[in-house]
Amino acid sequence: MKTTVSRRTFIKGGLAGTVVATVLPEKKSQAATFEGYPDGMGVLVDLTRCVGCRSCEAACNEEQKLPQPDKPFDDFSVFDEIHHGQKRRTDETRYTVVNRYDVPGLDHPLFRKIQCNHCQEPACLTSCFVNAYTKTPEGAVIYNPNVCVGCRTCMIACPFNIPTFKYSSAFNPRIMKCIFCYDTRLKEGRPPACVEACPQEALTFGKRNKLLEIGRQRIRETPDKYEDHIYGEHEVGGTAWMYLSSVPFDQVGFDTHVPKEPILNYVKDFLGIVPMVLTVWPALFAGFHLLATRKDWLKNKNEDTHEEE
């Protein structure tokens, strides 16, 4: 059966399509400038309030059903642990860690809690080639162990060195990282276990936008007490967990050299050339081939015509 489209039906269809396209609610592409989910939650960590009691570590350990550590959570000698010249970090047995910093000129130490910062545009997510990571609208960066291959590119990409790998398992390895208590709490709108456990209100849970306001307010009201910077507002394109500090951030272990834009921006230069190579190369090199072998081709052609004569 042969179907033909008359000019009239074609125009009618075309017009209808245009109308539908203009009337339908516009679906904005968010890929180019994604600034995070508007209602994403976050936590504001105030270093001036933290006393290093490690309650958050204990709460996390219990909530996430992680193995019992060698030293109990009320053992504060862990603050003196040094591995490879570095203070304690996250690993396959702990999603969050508190470290002590003795800042010169300050009569008391400062404590800094580290965990996944739940970036607005996470490097782990963008570098993952099996889509094992998801940034949920609630603000959490969660991980799916069922598709993960264990390549550990996310660990390379994370500017905060947060994801860790369960190297000790041969048959069931996976990435181990803080998921903002997504499954058990955040999904239902409840704060993560560490926040709830904090006796000092050093951790404030709320909408990220609101937290930024709170942070600015604290700085404005007591400018002598705080550095005029909210770490995480712009770092690597913004993070859901943010920090206030009384001393310059590099003195309490923060990497102040991390870029102020998403990590993905550094990779885009390369991603941009891919379509170019895929489309231009075949034509270009086929052309080179024709040029390079033109003499042979002419010679063959001449021989053929001679033979015909």
Partner: protein, 417 residues
């Protein structure tokens, strides 16, 4: 083997038919035409094989340990250095050294430079095996190695650089298998298969260029995910992929010079006169290509430093190390190539190629291990990790030798083809 070729004129096998008119069977071809006892006699006479046995005696139990007790049993299980030697050497080092396949495929098939024909198959084989073993290294390193195909079918993350690497290495491996198959088809005597591949050569070659440009570059681009970790001198967000791609050109060519030299010197019985007689000439021409690629690479390296305003870093300790790497790994062999080419001295070109190969491995190890997390600390790999790496490399060597001894790679098949 040399010993037997003197005694038995019909060896090495170059034809389907024995001098007495009967056919070589496949089994005889596999045993190089020797009886079992003769084969083992020559095998155990070779000191290299004893070295291999020593390496495997320790390496194989270590591999079992890795697969039964996990990666932490054989590595330092570092969360700061997620990629160790398996990837730093096995993937980032092996892949540029295997660029030879697409380089010589392009030269011969696309640009019609038939004068490189005698070394084309060796270059293709060098490429195929390098990639294949890069995948083996990956299989050692991947936590869930049984999910290797996941990025292909199960869960796709097409916006990631590694996705591109995975797909391109997989497709390029198939392309290279197809490119090397004619040698196998000649050897087993299935000419129809060879004709089919022959008709696809141009398409395969062009596919090879596209895939190689992209995944050689992509391996570099993987480090642009860590702009705050890798030392700025070894990382340039804009130029990283060009650095990796451009250096893979001379890396691949140098590797094929090294490999052909080893084969000519230690497996001369297997080479035919065409290969032996043209090798010096080809080596010098390849050396010329290397020196040109190297000067291009050097210029882009300098451009990257200028672009990122990194001159001040050159005055630090890391800067000296960087200059040492460039000086010994690139500038020195570049001049040796140039002098060797100008004075027609193949031996100098060969020496330069060895340095260039080591230089490129050094560069990749610097990028992925030494200067990664330069602000934290340097990770020294566990001895078991080093041993496993050597074991897999030895397996690569044995496979390479096994194929070169048998298939028409460095000699032409005398029978029907």
């Amino acid at each position: 083997m040399r010993f037997f070729s003197h005694q038995r004129p019909e060896l090495p096998i170059v034809d389907h038919v024995k001098p007495d008119g009967s056919q070589w069977t496949l089994k005889e071809k596999l045993w190089l035409g020797l009886s079992g006892s003769d084969y083992f006699k020559q095998f155990f006479r070779n000191p290299v094989n004893w070295l291999m046995i020593g390496i495997f005696a320790v390496g194989i139990p270590l591999l079992f340990q890795r697969y039964i007790y996990g990666l932490s049993a054989v590595t330092h299980a570092s969360n700061d250095y997620p990629w160790g030697l398996f990837l730093g050497f096995g993937l980032f080092g092996m892949v540029p050294l295997s660029a030879s396949g697409f380089m010589l495929g392009t030269t011969v098939e696309l640009f019609g430079r038939k004068d490189f024909h005698p070394i084309e198959r060796l270059a293709l084989l060098n490429g195929l095996l390098g990639y294949f073993f890069a995948v083996i290294f990956l299989e050692i390193d991947l936590g869930m190695w049984w999910r290797l195909y996941y990025p292909m079918i199960v869960s796709l993350g097409p916006a990631a650089v590694l996705f591109l690497v995975a797909w391109h290495v997989a497709t390029y491996l198939s392309v290279q298998v197809a490119e090397v198959l004619p040698a196998l088809f000649e050897w087993i005597g299935w000419l129809k298969g060879k004709r089919i591949i022959r008709s696809m050569t141009l398409g395969l070659t062009i596919a090879g260029i596209i895939l190689s440009t992209l995944h050689q570059g992509a391996l570099g681009a993987l480090f642009t995910y860590a702009p705050a970790k890798v030392h700025p001198l070894w990382l340039s967000a804009n130029f990283q992929w060009i650095h990796f791609f451009c250096s893979s050109i001379f890396a691949g060519l140098s590797m094929v010079i090294v490999s052909s030299t080893l084969i000519r010197n230690f497996a001369g019985w297997r080479c035919d006169d065409e290969f032996k007689n043209s090798l010096d000439d080809i080596t010098i021409k390849l050396g010329k290509g290397c020196s040109l690629a190297m000067i291009t690479y050097l210029v882009i390296k300098v451009v990257a430093i200028a672009h990122d305003q990194e001159w001040a870093y050159l005055l630090t300790g890391w800067g000296s190390y960087y200059l040492l790497e460039l000086g010994v790994g690139v500038v020195l062999p570049m001049f040796m190539f140039a002098i060797g080419v100008r004075n027609n001295r193949a031996s100098l070109v060969r020496f330069a190629a060895v340095i260039a190969v080591l230089g490129i491995v050094w560069n990749r190890l610097n990028t992925s291990l030494v200067c990664f997390n330069w602000q934290l600390y340097q990770e020294i790999p566990h001895w078991k990790e080093v041993w496993i790496t050597i074991t897999i490399y030895s397996l690569y060597f044995l496979t390479y030798r096994f194929i070169v001894y048998r298939l028409p790679i460095v000699y032409s098949w005398k029978g029907e083809k």
